[in-house]
Structure formats: structure tokens, C-alpha cells
């Protein structure tokens, strides 16, 4: 069975403003988002100005505008990342800089510096030598 795609969560990204979430499709990304499936392997430099979902493997650098990035549970990313908002559920080795909110799910493995305006860490996330800077929001794993 294919793993479910990590949902982008517009309610969190938009700080309660759901007006921009109307255009989302079934996997939560806005129409026009780029999607790298589980079997995709990319090595190189990437820049884009639209939402991105990574479920495969990426090695290089990612430069994104203030759009949204989702790194799936089974994704392996070795890159320095500049993004708007991000949900990290997979394996990331590199520095992540988000201009808005970055959510680290409990399934994530992270190694590098994580900088964002707002950081949200789930209980259980594996953080190795991670330098955090930003406002820590409520830990989502503790909500239930």
C-alpha cells in the first residue's frame, strides 16, 4: 500500500484564516503544486514559487518563496532549504529556514539548524544536533 501523502494544513499556515484554503485539492496542496512521488530521486539545485510536496529522495538545495513545503514520512532530503511554511514528517539533513511556520511531525528525523518565525514540534520527533530558533508554538503531540 502506498503511504498517504502528508497533508498540508492550511488552518495552521494561515493562523486561523481559512479564506485561502478553498482552492486546496485532495492532498491539501493548492492547484499548481509540484509533487515529487515516492520513487523520484533528484540531485541538484531547485528553485520554485509554488507549493511543493516531496515524498521521494532529494539531494542538493531548495529555494522556495513564501509558499508551502511538505516533506513526507518516507522522504529523505539532504539539502539546505529556504521556504515559507513547512511540514516535516520525513528525514531531513540540512538547514531549514522558514519565513513563516515550520511544523516538525513526530515521524521526522532532523539534523541541522531550524529557523522559522513559528516552530511547532510534535512529541517524538527525532532531533539530532538541531539548533532551533524561532517562537515555539504549542507542541501538537500534547494536544490529544
Amino acid at each position: 500500500m502506498r503511504p498517504e501523502r502528508t497533508r498540508l494544513e492550511p488552518d495552521i499556515y494561515n493562523d486561523g484564516d481559512s479564506s485561502t484554503s478553498g482552492g486546496s485539492d485532495s492532498h491539501g496542496a493548492r492547484p499548481g503544486a509540484s509533487i515529487f512521488g515516492a520513487t523520484m530521486v533528484l540531485k541538484g539545485d531547485l528553485s520554485l514559487a509554488e507549493d511543493l510536496i516531496i515524498e521521494g529522495s532529494f539531494d542538493g538545495s531548495i529555494t522556495q518563496g513564501d509558499q508551502r513545503l511538505s516533506i513526507g514520512v518516507h522522504a529523505r532530503v539532504k539539502a539546505n532549504i529556504r521556504t515559507g511554511s513547512a511540514i516535516i514528517a520525513g528525514d531531513v539533513d540540512g538547514d531549514v529556514r522558514g519565513s513563516r511556520t515550520v511544523i516538525v511531525k513526530k515521524t521526522a528525523r532532523l539534523h541541522g539548524a531550524l529557523t522559522a518565525e513559528r516552530l511547532c514540534l510534535e512529541t517524538g520527533a527525532n532531533l539530532e544536533d538541531v539548533v532551533l530558533s524561532g517562537n515555539i508554538a504549542r507542541t501538537r503531540g500534547a494536544e490529544g
Binding site: 501523502r5 503544486a33 509533487i35 512521488g37 541538484g44 528553485s47
Partner: protein, 150 residues
């Protein structure tokens, strides 16, 4: 009472994804390179892929289908099962099943495929190699013509 199986008519070769088909991504596992995306490097995949952005480097994409959308710009050699080009490709295209150029296609490179379809208006600069010649009745006539000539 006795229903015929519905899936008998399923085609053997799956159709390449068309641009704008992203909504079916969960069921058909189509990867999408969006229009604002610029990537330089190596790309490989084992699933259908739609390219609407810019790719420079190499694309290794065996056994699956690849579509370069109208806004797609590819500077790379392409290897895939079925290839549909609506945008611009600078590089050789290898299609194990077929290669199709839409009327908006601009291709500078060679095409290697057993089946090729080109729409009126497509721009193509390069050579075509269809591999082994197909066994047609024309070949028999040609051999007979050769005997008569001899």
C-alpha cells in the same frame, strides 16, 4: 445474473498523464513538476511524470510515461515508455512505446521510438530512428520486385 468482468477492456499500455491531471495523483501516482519550478541536476523516477517547469540535466525515467506540458522546458535527454511533448525539449527522446509531439511542441534533438506521432504545427529539428523495420506485406513485394529486377 452472470455479469461480465468490467476490466476486460483495460488497455495494456497506460496513457501518459495529461497536464492538469494532478487531482488523480493519489490513485495513479503522478509526479508533477510545476510551472515555476526550475531544477538543474539529475532526475530519476519510476512513476508517471508531468513536467510543466524547467529541467536541465538528465532524466532517467524508464518504464513509465512522461509528459512535457506547454510551459515545460527540458534541456536533457529523456528516457521513458511513452513520451508526450507539448512544450520545448532540447535533447534526445527515447520512447520505448511511443513518442508524440503536439502542435505546440518544439523539439531540438533526435527521437528514438518504434511509434511516432507528430501533430501539424509541431516544430522538430533532428532525426528519427524507429529501430527495427516493421514486418509488413510491403517487404514481400519489395523482395519480389528485387527478383524481377534481377
Amino acid at each position: 445474473m452472470f455479469r461480465k468482468p468490467q476490466d476486460e477492456e483495460a488497455p495494456q499500455v497506460s496513457k501518459p498523464p495529461t497536464v492538469g491531471e494532478q487531482s488523480a495523483v493519489r490513485t495513479r501516482s503522478v509526479s508533477v513538476i510545476g510551472p515555476t519550478l526550475v531544477f538543474k541536476g539529475e532526475l530519476s523516477a519510476d512513476e508517471d511524470l508531468v513536467i510543466q517547469g524547467t529541467i536541465e540535466g538528465t532524466i532517467a525515467h524508464h518504464k513509465k510515461n512522461l509528459t512535457v506540458g506547454k510551459e515545460g522546458r527540458v534541456k536533457a535527454d529523456i528516457n521513458a515508455a511513452a513520451v508526450v511533448i507539448e512544450g520545448q525539449v532540447d535533447g534526445d527522446i527515447h520512447g520505448d512505446d511511443y513518442v508524440e509531439l503536439a502542435k505546440s511542441a518544439v523539439v531540438n534533438g533526435n527521437i528514438f521510438s518504434p511509434r511516432i506521432k507528430m501533430a501539424d504545427g509541431a516544430q522538430f529539428n533532428g532525426s528519427i530512428n524507429m529501430g527495427k523495420p516493421a514486418k509488413l506485406s510491403v517487404a514481400e513485394d519489395a523482395s519480389r520486385a528485387h527478383k524481377i529486377g534481377a
